[in-house]
């Protein structure tokens, strides 16, 4: 989908992108990295908005020479406000469609469809100036969808949304590849969102790509069944002591939580039995797995 080969961009002495070579593919891809890592520079290069050295192709088109064509097939949902004053949502989306080359009637139909998808059915005729933050985010999503893109760039789509709206936005995003046939690149600082929604990830740091691959590859496949996190109603230490006697290795994390490495041939039954023996109640049991956040920090730490 996106191929980079020796992509380099300097701003004066600053190396914004340092000879990046990578192939980016997937359904919903998280683009992660600290501030200043080069994410926005990468985006500008891929959209053909700034010159660079090296090669970059998006959807088979060269970013250096066919930038306009790329932007016709890519939708961008910006982080900041990007509206025209005094227009309603329908007018804005229709205008957006026309600017991407659609004939007027087609643009209008698709504008309505995009606004339905984004959940703005009721309010779409009202001027955007009066919209709440959540509604504005939805309009930004709709205007990115109206011209039937094959790829979407979403920049912090849940910015400023309250928990319910955030949830709805993430559901919209998750459904997009199936319902609209487009792939998504999601740029965000909220790693739990990435954990929930993405299947692939690209991590950037100081102008270089540190990781490209699936989320599973990032955090290690589901850990071995013998490494567990156990939660008890109370007195984790007591359970830890009991399990240690049976040959497990335990670390007490808090009053109610402990990490357990079962002995060879041990199963979770051992945990339940020991708990029952000592009158303790098991309230949680999970195979230990690195969260995306921990994995991310690890990747960055390794890079240093």
């Amino acid at each position: 989908m996106i191929e980079l080969d020796g992509l380099e961009k300097k701003f004066g002495a600053i190396n914004a992108l340092a000879k990046v070579t990578a192939t980016i593919d997937g359904n919903i891809i998280g683009l992660l990295g600290p501030n200043g890592a080069g994410k926005s520079t990468l985006l500008k290069c891929l959209l053909g908005l700034i010159p660079f050295s090296g090669r970059a192709t998006v959807l088979g088109l060269s970013a250096a020479t066919e930038g306009s064509a790329i932007r016709d097939r890519v939708g961008y949902m910006p982080e900041q406000e990007a509206f025209l004053a005094g227009m309603s949502a329908v007018e804005l989306c229709t205008y957006a469609g026309e600017l991407s080359g659609l004939p007027r009637t087609e643009a209008m139909q698709r504008a309505h469809a995009a606004l339905y998808y984004a959940g703005l059915e009721d309010k779409r005729y009202q001027p955007i100036d009066g919209y709440s933050t959540g509604m504005k985010q939805r309009v930004k999503l709709a205007q990115a969808l109206v011209h039937d893109p094959e790829l979407l760039f979403l920049d912090e789509p849940t910015n400023g949304l309250d928990p319910k709206s955030r949830d709805e936005m993430l559901t919209l995003i998750t459904d997009l590849p199936d319902r609209r046939g487009c792939a998504i690149i999601l740029s965000t600082h909220l790693l739990p969102d990435v954990e929930r929604v993405c299947d692939h990830a690209v991590i950037m740091h100081q102008g270089a790509v540190r990781f490209v691959g699936t989320i599973d590859e990032l955090r290690g496949a589901r850990g071995r069944d013998t490494e567990l996190t156990v939660e008890v109603k109370a007195d984790a230490q007591k359970l830890a002591d009991a399990l240690t006697e049976s040959g497990a290795t335990c670390t007490v994390v808090s009053r109610i939580q402990l990490s357990v490495d079962l002995p060879a041939n041990g199963t979770s039954e051992l945990v339940f039995r020991r708990a029952k023996d000592h009158g303790l109640q098991i309230r949680g049991l999970e195979v230990r797995r690195e969260s995306v956040e921990t994995a991310f920090l690890r990747v960055l730490g390794d890079a240093k």
Partner: protein
Amino acid sequence: MSVVAKGCSKWYGHVLGVSDIDLTLRPGIVGLLGPNGAGKSTLMKLMAGLLRPSRGSLAVFDKNPFDDIAVRRRIGYAPEHEKTWDELSALELVTVMAELAGVERSRSRRAAETAIEEMGMTKAMHRRVYGFSKGMRQRTKLATAIAHDPDLLLLDEPLTGVDPVARADIVERIRKLGEAGKTVVVSSHVLYEIEALTSEIVVIYRGQVLAEGNVYEIRKLIDKQPHRIRIECDQPHAIGSALASAEHVARIGFERGAVLIETRDPDRCYDQVAEAVLAGGIAVTNLTSPDNNLGAVFDYLTGGAARE
């Protein structure tokens, strides 16, 4: 008690800010949650002494923050917006704000430097704020709020736009402040940020306090929603049938490789599940309570239970 509000209401003409708030806050970190427009910012500004209650009272350390300058000097407020004097350097900015908060001239620079170091901004402190990234601005804002060593800290969305590296760092520093005995009120929409900081929450809904206290205790109080317990194992139906006859079970559902139990008495349920597991020699790979977290609690409170 750090903050005591009694029957506190604030109206802006016809617009409702908060209505009839009774609240007590103690030292430690408390999360302030609520949908947009519910009144969180109004409550914060009342606590910061920027607004006067239209009715009722709100006392900080037993004084009225709107009138009492001495108590205002014990309050640090980091608002959501970032408009500030961009042309100053970080150090100059924090120094000026510290002086405005009552720190003497002679000490202000040192206090500012300490605060900046606390927030990990020492390397950049002589640079102008103008060129700062979002994360650096947030850190500078936080340094401003703590420079005068306040006892009450009000942080409105302190982690917006902050990258994950900086986030982990700032969360750690806020936690240390809470452990040091300060009262820290953190307002955020991103529930896992709050979860990382504290289990004590106050939920504001439609201008009123909907719930306060420990998340897990609040969860127990939400009767209408039976507790959900999910068990991934090799014999889900065995567990299901073992619990089907229990009176406290409201519903049993099955997914591939898992059984989902809704119960009104989670305590008894956990015991019975453990018995069933041991009796049937069932291999359990995952046992969780999917709705025993802040997100679910918030959802139940503002979505269902609140609609009375």
